[in-house]
Amino acid sequence: MKILDAVILALRTVWAQKLKSFFTLLGVIVGVTFLISVFAVVEGMNRYVQDDFAGSIFGINTITIERIWSGRGGRQDAQTRRRQSRNPDITTADAEALREEIPNIWYMAYNTDRFMPEVRSGQNKRKNVRLIGVTDEYLDLQGWEIVDGRGLTRIDDVRAIRVAVIGDAIAQKLFPDESAIGRDIRLGPFRYRVVGVLKRQGGFIGVIRDAAVVVPWGAFQADFSRRRNVVDGIQIKFRTEEAMVAGQAAAEETLRARHRLRPGQENDFDIETASEVLDAWNTIKNVLLAAGPGLVAVALVVGGIVIMNIMLMSVLERTREIGVRKALGARRVDITRQFLAESATLSTLGAAIGVAIGTGLAKLVDIVAPLPASVPVYAIIMGVALGLLVGIVFGVYPALRASRLDPIVALRYE
């Protein structure tokens, strides 16, 4: 008997007992459904974290250079804190040196932030504002879009012109009924003219951007800076990840030289990348991917045992049939193959149903939740392959039992 004949026979048997087959397959169906769902969610989360989440905080392929402040993390001992308090500031001179030394820079900007208790325009005011003094490429580098007016230019910066780009929440508050463009706002004693409004980001992360007032570095230096030429952070964006990795190394080297650090001495500055956020997500993902297969395995083993039991019952029920087949010339290998094909077909069918349900669930999540859940092809292949494997592994014993039946006894079986 050929394999194909065996599979056709198996499909026929499965079809003849649809309901029983379905219940037999429940374990495998649940297992594979779960497998597909986990992979779909992980894959979706993965994309979400990489493209949206990490991108919106640090930007893709961007490094941020900051001073290490003492007391950060709260776990350092007194000695470390003392040493960190002596860390040099990051300065505009550092920034210009980095611009010279680092290859393949796409965008580069630096900024200094300051908390402002309020910003007002006439009678309208908004409390608790984040004032950011930036160089001209900052908005582009951060990917902050302008919905109204324009961004900041190099000329604004160099001439220290008092212009501002404001967040959506501030625009709503100060100019509820009209365009903010061309209007003045008061920041402390200074009058700044609004030239642009940022696109609303919204949500939890959006609080920072939507309540920000962004002004040119030159004007910020003149009006608000406590210490001239000191920057809070330097951001450098690259086109590719490879360029970023190379740039990170070059930045470290340049700053170590400028800060006169000896080999073996720790960095007195910090270089952050989006990869740190990604690392955190990767930890979560690894937990999911480690726990997922365990649960899938349990479901599949349970499913396999059910299949084995059903197959043993089936062998018993069909003892007479096995006897007849043997009398008509079936060899042991023919009988083994027949029952193996049956259990493998059964569980592969279950896996296919599981893939279908899992994919459906993923689609549902995709539509209902903001997660872009998508089923990776390798998960489908894996699901079906696992189904096949379960069917074969748990089908071996019943199939061998069937093949070893004595035809005389089997023919007499009632």
Binding site: M1, V324, R325, K326, L328, G329, A330, R332, D334, I408
Partner: protein, 239 residues
């Protein structure tokens, strides 16, 4: 001992079969010598416990003897292993059972195809041969029916088509009319007689004298040995 000539289908020499039943050894066959030639129609009778089932199992290659020799169609089969016995059953023997033993949940045609599947024939050829065999027993219009849609006589005719589809050298019929009424039994026996006329070699096991009367030779068994072995004219009442 020399292998039999071309005209001999079955030849046994001192065939013995013993079973261990607990501490006891049951000697089911105590030495059977038997020769059946081509185109003989032999009936085997005997009370229960006489060893006729055991003999049938040995002749049908479903079992191997404890001692003695058995040639089927010129090949010694008494010492073959499982796989070779399966091959012999597939090629040389056509079984007809008392309970028909058709597979439920599958069509008459598929049932008849079974021996051809195990012979490794391609699907197209299987269909053709199976159809021809069903045609030969007058069931051309019942091919797609399942066994439970057929009458007892029709089922036994499907079983006979299945037994013959591989053109075996021996047709083994074990109480083929045991589950049928007398009219249908007559039909089935008529088919066996016509097969015999066509040249088939038939071995029939029965406990009914009027069924045995269809044969042309009667062997009776008692206590594991042949008691009588006599030829007679077909239809003549047997003693």
């Amino acid at each position: 001992m020399m292998p039999p000539d071309n005209n001999t289908v079955i030849l046994t020499r001192d065939l013995k079969k013993e079973y261990e039943l607990g501490a006891e050894t049951v000697r089911a066959l105590r030495g059977v010598d038997m020769q059946i030639d081509k185109n003989e129609f032999v009936a085997i009778m005997g009370p229960s416990g006489s060893g006729k089932s055991t003999l049938l199992n040995l002749i049908g290659c479903l079992d191997t003897p404890t001692a003695g020799q058995y040639w089927l169609g010129g090949e010694e089969v008494s010492q073959l292993d499982d796989n070779d016995l399966a091959r012999i059953r597939n090629r040389q023997i056509g079984f007809v059972f008392q309970t028909f033993n058709l597979l439920p949940r599958t069509t008459a045609l598929h049932n008849v195809e079974l021996p051809l599947i195990y012979a490794g024939l391609p699907a197209k050829q299987r269909h053709e041969q199976a159809k021809a065999a069903l045609d030969a027993v007058g069931l051309a219009d019942r091919m797609t029916h399942h066994p439970n849609e057929l009458s007892g006589g029709e089922r036994q005719r499907v079983a006979m088509a299945r037994a013959l589809v591989n053109q075996p050298s021996l047709l083994l019929a074990d109480e083929p009319t045991g589950n049928l009424d007398s009219a249908t039994s007559g039909e089935i026996m008529d088919i066996l007689v016509s097969l015999h006329d066509r040249g088939e070699t038939i071995l029939l096991v029965t406990h009914e004298r009027d069924i045995a009367a269809y044969s042309d030779r009667l062997i009776t068994l008692r206590d594991g040995v042949i008691e009588t072995d006599q030829r007679h004219t077909i239809g003549e009442p047997v003693a």
